[in-house]
């Protein structure tokens, strides 16, 4: 029982990371009907930026905030420069562009920072709490993720820009008629998603060790979590990410270790999707006749 609770809790911490990246994926999907396959690599690159800042002597939280700002601006730029040309093209073209972006970021990171595994500092001391039930590190990760979610909620629910972004995602033409610069809203959306991804990367790097291929598995789990929750639902993304994290951990501990863990975890989740093909909180993709 004790071990089960332990595994659930550390699963939640991993799940918090998947939930963050899943949320980034959902944000972009809601705005542009596109799955950004490069989200993980963008997050990895942001994490390397944070690592460089920390190595240059910046205190951790200063590096963290600066990285978020840089990632936000980077995300906006990517939307404007790289995604804008294929926004009105067939969806497959945009998908291929994100795959290309994935490759570019991965290769650039390998070239600039090499493929050697690097240690990444954690701001949380490595201690256990509540009778070895959980670690401060896990609690810290969950805490940071919750804080980020809260900020996002406040932003979207209570600010004019947040409202404009929601409108632009729902009905771009109508939003334009209200004077909302839909293109700029999209760019902000990508910027926010990039910043969220950076948070996920920084939280997970101390555990996985930093290398250009760090986020590949994370992206896969995040994508799964986003779909499990329903690709159009931000709440679903968070819940889905958490469920995936716990499932992965439990499968790895009790069912099957190492390589096949990924396959089994995915299979279980796909089984859920068979019964709920639009995810737990998703709405059906409506077809107009």
């Amino acid at each position: 029982m004790h071990q089960l609770l332990q595994q659930i809790f550390s699963g939640l911490a991993a799940g918090a990371v998947y939930a963050s990246l899943a949320l980034a994926l959902v944000m972009i999907y809601r705005a542009t009907d596109l799955v950004n396959f490069a989200q993980g690599e963008m997050a990895m690159f942001s994490t390397y930026i944070a690592w460089t800042l920390v190595n240059a002597g910046l205190p951790f939280w200063a590096a963290f905030v600066l990285t978020l700002v840089v990632s936000f601006l980077g995300g906006m730029t990517i939307e404007r420069v790289i995604i804008r040309p294929v926004e009105n093209a067939p969806v497959l073209a945009a998908v291929v562009v994100t795959i290309g972006l994935l490759l570019i970021f991965n290769a650039l990171a390998g070239w600039i920072f090499t493929y050697t595994l690097q240690e990444f500092p954690s701001p949380f001391p490595d201690r256990t709490m509540f009778g070895a039930l959980m670690t401060t590190r896990d609690l810290g990760v969950i805490g940071v993720t919750l804080a980020m979610l809260l900020l996002l909620f406040v932003f979207f629910r209570f600010t004019a820009t947040g409202l404009a972004m929601r409108a632009a995602a729902q009905n771009p033409e109508s939003a334009r008629l209200c004077g909302i610069p839909v293109g700029r809203m999209l760019a902000i959306g990508w910027g926010l998603a990039a910043a969220i991804g950076a948070t996920a990367g920084i939280m997970v790097a101390p555990v996985l060790f930093l290398d250009p291929n760090m986020m590949g598995g994370v992206l896969l789990y995040a994508f799964t979590g986003a779909l499990l929750g329903g690709i159009t639902s931000p709440v679903g993304a968070v819940v889905g990410g958490l469920i995936v994290g716990v499932t992965e951990n439990l499968v790895g501990t009790y069912l099957i270790a190492s390589q096949l863990k990924l396959t089994v975890a995915l299979a279980l989740i796909i089984l859920v999707l068979v019964f709920r093909p639009n995810g737990l909180f998703g709405t059906a993709i409506v077809r107009r006749v």
Binding site: L163, A167, E173, S174, R176, G179
Partner: protein, 235 residues
């Protein structure tokens, strides 16, 4: 007095096809002009051309500015509030959020303007926290108009506001629009299939047919014209 909106020899295109062949339309400052015509005549296309939603040629003058080649959101920011066909309400947002959206281009807090909207449309005040998608057709139309008015526009463009609504509701809506026009000094460009009602309210009228203006003049003159009476007024 110069008209607040004037189109001169405007052509519009869907892809390679030309659908408006050089039309000229005007709206007086604070006045109301109506575009009449059968389905496919080009009425909605004209409105879309004004809002920069279709490719167009020719001159579009608004309050001393030129609208051609401006983006839709820039045109909205200049004071053109366009309520499109099908209302365009954000069904996933609440009534109140829809109204707030209208105030996006205006500085300052929208509370005073929102209170005024609840005064014009009491039913919206009652339903302010509900999802816009849960409102009836007539209520959504009121919401769409209210949202447009939150922009403090100088020109209100209404595309078939009576569509799909019961006659009683249509009367209500139009009497409110009349009241707003007088109190707020807003010009109105109206597209309507309900010609009787439209010609009753408007100052100027234009009859469109397959992308051409085939008749224009004061609304009273067109209402008395025997051809219009036969084709569009039913008597």
């Amino acid at each position: 007095m110069a008209p607040i909106l004037e189109l001169r020899a405007v052509k519009a295109f869907y892809g390679q096809s030309e659908v408006l062949h050089g039309i000229s339309v005007a709206v007086e400052d604070g006045g109301m002009s109506v575009l009449l015509g059968a389905n496919g005549a080009g009425k909605t296309t004209t409105l879309r051309a004004i809002s920069g939603m279709v490719r167009s040629e020719g001159e579009i003058h608004f309050a001393g500015q030129r609208l051609e080649r401006r983006s839709t959101e820039a045109i909205a920011g200049l004071g053109v509030a366009h309520v499109p066909e099908g209302r365009g309400t954000m069904t996933g947002l609440t009534v109140e959020e829809n109204l707030r959206l209208g105030a996006y281009t205006r500085a300052g807090r929208p509370d005073a303007a929102m209170a005024r909207m609840y005064d014009y449309f009491p039913i919206l005040g009652q339903r302010r926290r509900q999802q816009a998608g849960a409102l009836s057709g007539g209520e959504q139309q009121m919401l769409a108009i209210a949202r447009a008015l939150m922009m403090s526009p100088r020109l209100l463009i209404l595309d078939e506001p009576s569509f799909g609504l019961a006659p009683r509701i249509v009367e209500d809506i139009f009497s409110i629009v009349e009241r707003i026009r007088r109190e707020q000094h807003v010009a109105v460009l109206l597209v309507e299939q309900n010609a009787t009602l439209a010609l009753d309210l408007a100052d100027q009228a234009y009859l469109l047919e397959t992308g051409y203006v085939v008749m224009s003049g004061p609304a009273k003159t067109l209402a008395d014209d025997p051809q219009i009476r036969r084709s569009y007024l039913g008597y």
